[in-house]
Amino acid sequence: MSTGPAARGQGRTAAAYLAPALLVLGALLVYPVYQLVVISFYDYGQEQVSGGAPLVFLGLGNYTALLASARFWAVLGQTVGFAAVCVLGTLAVGAALAVLATRVRPWARTTLFLAALGAWATPAVAGSTIWLFLFDANLGLVNSVLGLDGFSWTYGKWSAFGLVAAEVVWCSFPFVMITLYAGIRAIPTEVLEAATLDGASAWRTARSVVVPLLRPLLIVVTIQSVIWDFKVFTQVYVMTNGGGIAGRNLVLNVFAYQQAFAASEYGLGAAIGVVTTVVLLVVTVFYLRALKRSGEVL
């Protein structure tokens, strides 16, 4: 890179063009991350917010309180389990339908893709509300068809989690399906023809040719799904009315929200936020390595 006057002029122009973006990102994304960590070190409650009591520095106090609480471990376990079910469901449905889409004529494929696009486009709150109505205890279509009059799906812990997971799979499988469909279509036909000529069965071709070729793409959609499903907030909050009866349907993000804004324990809420961020950071490192291997360049 040269350091002549021209380059210096470019530097000044670049600074002017980048200033608004840097200002917004610095103030509203980088600074809050720093603040999140700072707040998590304090006992920050309603009195401190209103200025009635001084801030007390706790150091890692909020974290030791969290790690010692059975509630936190239960919520963490539920979050991991819920995310795992959502990811597996999304991948299974998305992959199966991507394969199915390659086997049918364009009119059928377009029908499927349009339906999937509808599910994908539905705002999370609207989707959650529709599913709540479909599964309503008295007026819902599902209970009427199954003859389960008066059965509440959102009352039991596991049926509530199952219902939320089903809604999450419904609105997130389209991304996986369309991405994998594009991936399958990008495999050169010669490769598949060669496998057939060599006498490979359809199953053998799928296992030994298609899956290895799609591996990088599969890793990317898996990790992307893990990141999304680990931080689901809206569906859980809306469908279980804020985390279920006595908070038995809490996941980390909803837990953090309730601690901070319902119980006014902002310091504790921030500490849960830090834990979520760290977990996702680890997942993200794997994501970046997968991206790098699949050939994405900076």
Binding site: Q10, A115, S144, F233, Y257
Partner: protein, 277 residues
């Protein structure tokens, strides 16, 4: 598997996937007694818009609809402008720290913004002390955070579109006496417009769908609620006006559906490209 069988299965699955949306629209146009029937029928012979009327008048949905539109459009407009300038600088200009900035851009995309509600809540409270319109309980606070959340991705995608414009074009414009800013405005901007459309649709949808930050920031000003928040408030235990709720859901879903269908090709290829490399 025979192709005919596969196609039959495909159509059945498509119907199942689309069913919740069909049910939403159907419930919205059913008369109240049919909605409240314990033996719901998958059709209606007496379609009516009375549920929409109730949603718009009793529940004041029109106001929340406008609020959501204002927030989403402000986010789209500002992020287009800011992201375009930043993308132009990052692709067209040589300066120190450029590589670092690209890496930073990738890193901030990975920040789970849902974890930032607490610090952003306090930040907006302080902002509100200085400029009320951008503080808690005002739509400006939502515009600010969604602008920040949408920028990294928008800049990242636009960078590709700017890079695709040949450098010779800029040299020709400079020879013709155009200043750098004129080139940006008159030549580069129209050429990257397709990229701007794709990124702004995504920014629009994110801002439009947001529930968490609307819930965190708009605490006591009911008149400044956005659609997702308003819809959730209407769902009350045991006394739901499901017809009006489904009418509200329809009003909220339709704009996004229209956008999705309009840009689906670009969206799909863009998303596939962003993960395929």
């Amino acid at each position: 598997m025979k192709r005919g069988v596969a196609e039959a299965i495909t159509v059945v699955i498509a119907a199942v996937v689309a069913f919740p949306l069909f049910w939403m629209v159907l419930t919205a146009i059913k008369p109240t007694d049919e909605v409240l029937s314990t033996a719901p029928k998958p059709w209606t012979l007496r379609p009516t818009f009375s549920a929409f009327a109730r949603a718009l008048t009793v529940q004041d949905f029109g106001r929340y609809f406008v609020n959501s539109v204002v927030v989403a459009l402000a986010v789209v407009g500002l992020s287009m402008l800011i992201a375009f300038l930043a993308a132009a600088a990052l692709t067209r200009l040589r300066f120190r720290g450029r590589a670092t900035m690209l890496v930073m851009l990738l890193v901030v995309q990975m920040v789970p913004v849902e974890a930032l509600t607490v610090p952003l809540f306090f930040l907006m409270r302080s902002v509100g002390d200085a400029v009320p319109a951008f503080g808690l309980n005002h739509l400006g606070s939502l515009v600010l955070v969604h602008l920040a959340f949408s920028l990294p991705f928008s800049i990242w995608v636009l960078r590709g579109f700017v890079a695709a414009v040949p450098v010779e074009l800029e040299e020709a414009a400079t020879l013709d006496g155009a200043s750098r800013f004129t080139f940006l405005r008159r030549v580069l901007f129209p050429l990257v417009a397709p990229g701007l459309v794709a990124t702004s649709v995504l920014s629009f949808i994110h801002a439009w769908n947001d529930f968490l930050f609307a819930k965190t920031f708009i605490i006591s000003a009911a008149e400044n609620q956005t659609l997702p928040l308003a819809l959730q408030v209407f769902v009350k235990p045991d006394q739901n006006d499901w017809g009006a709720i489904m009418a509200g859901s329809t009003l909220m879903t339709v704009p996004v559906l229209v956008f999705f269908v309009l840009v689906q090709r670009r969206l799909v290829s863009g998303l596939a490209g962003s993960v395929k490399g």
